[in-house]
Amino acid sequence: MASPNAPVLELDGLSKTYGGGVAAVQGVSLSVGAGEVYGFLGPNGAGKSTTIRMLLGLIAPTGGAARLWGHDVRRHKAVLSRVGSLVDGGTFYPFMTGRGNLEVLGRTQGRHDPDRAQALLAQVGLADAADRKVKGYSTGMRQRLGVAAALLNDPDLVILDEPANGLDAAGIGEMRALIQGLSKDQGKTVFLCSHLLHEVEQVCDRVAIVDRGRVIREAAVGELTRSDAVVVETETPEAGLMALGGRWPAAVEAGRLVVQAGREEIPALVQALVGAGVPVFGVAAERRSLESAFLTITGEAGHA
């Protein structure tokens, strides 16, 4: 029996070992709440796609469970009627039109609504190409159709595997706005798998980083991009470096004085600098990009 407060998506020790002993996913556990945009990141072959396929009931786990709203996906397949998904960049019947594919999907879902299909085709910019056969679509067009297909059943949870693949810069921007809109305007939960870390950083609330089938870090995006360093705003960074005298590890990077110091150490740091005659105009926490954090974390895991 599912609890009414159960998370939208919960992976509990989810594992998949293929014949021959290849462990694609090993004990992945995470939880995603309603309305969250959750990023699922990892290098190629980390097990992201296998995890998503297990979530969608396409692959049977060899251990653990994937639960949606508290229901095990394997035992309660009906729960997937509340899920929309884009996997493999949109897989469609190539001999049918974009509109025809949405009709087949809608009927398979048991509720074909031509008006909704038309609205979604317009939303993803395919209104003019809706009656062309999919085999003539570009990668980006298939991707857009995939997004329309993922939203066709007005799902509560949207699972997107690399939704920006094949899109140009403008398309990526539109995709970002769409994902943000799904969460903020429509209250949907989004489980996003993408290698475009800059985009993930902008749209996700939390991320899990997976490597070789295991979750090696799960945190809020803000937490991952925050560093232990502060940037001191001063006209004389070299003098500041001298003034610190090795009390804190520091360096002058691109004309900025960057000091490894925690938030609680900032008053003492400012005092030391001002006391040494170094004018301080401001101190700000150093932010690192998600990409930098990702590379650091996966690099550490690789050397562990």
């Binding site: 009931g57 396409l58 049977a60 190539p94 049918m96 398979t108 074909h112």
Partner: protein
Amino acid sequence: MLELFYAERIKLLRHRATWFLVWVFPIGVSAVLTGLTIHQMIKGQAPANGPAETPAGWIADSIVPWRIPANAVGRYLLAAFTALAFGGEYGWNTWKLIGPHQSRGRLLLTKYAVVLGLIVTSLVLMAVLGTLGVWMNGLLTDKPAPAGIGFAALLAANGRAATATLLVVLLTVAYASAGATLTRSTLAGTVIAIVAVTAESVIGQLGPRFLSPTVYQMLPPYHLDNLGSWIGQGKASARRFPQAVVSLHWGWSLLSYAVWTGGLVTLTVTAFRKQDLN
């Protein structure tokens, strides 16, 4: 469930292969009969001098098209169509599109329903056009249908011919669906079904020379032949072996047929439900 049926039907009707694997039967029979009639009219062929055709003979001629889908080439075409319906989803990678939205058993059973529905529609159309074609041919070539052909007799003859043919078709569909699903490939499914159909034919004809009666009775060819014999002639088909004659009641053949066909369908559905759709 009806929506799922429509979804499957839309897919198959919009695929070009359906034209030359399924609709080819009514189109082909119509084309052959039309061509034959035109040829006879141009040639000015005189009416046959032999005895006038009897109603029973005319009806027997009119149901000949039912033999086409039951012969090897007809079965190859239907096997390829079935393999496309079941194996196509792997090739197009579309199980990922529709798989999460329905139970796997329902997806596959709907495929069976739609594949058989389209085949039956096509074959009934073929039979109707064939009968009309024979009738028109008679009218246009001065060999009109004999008097006394009753609609009930025509319907009964077609019913018997259809039943015998559909038994063969259903087994062909079972071979091809199992082959395509287990190998996840349209091409492999087609090849497997073609090999099975060909093997059936070889065993049916040459089996008594190299198989024991016991083994022979466990395989489908005799039972298809026997059921066809019971349906068409009301008696068992006899196969002579060096030390025995195999001649069974239709009930045994129907049971054996059901085990083979049902077994293949069960194998297909069970395997599909356990498959990882990567």
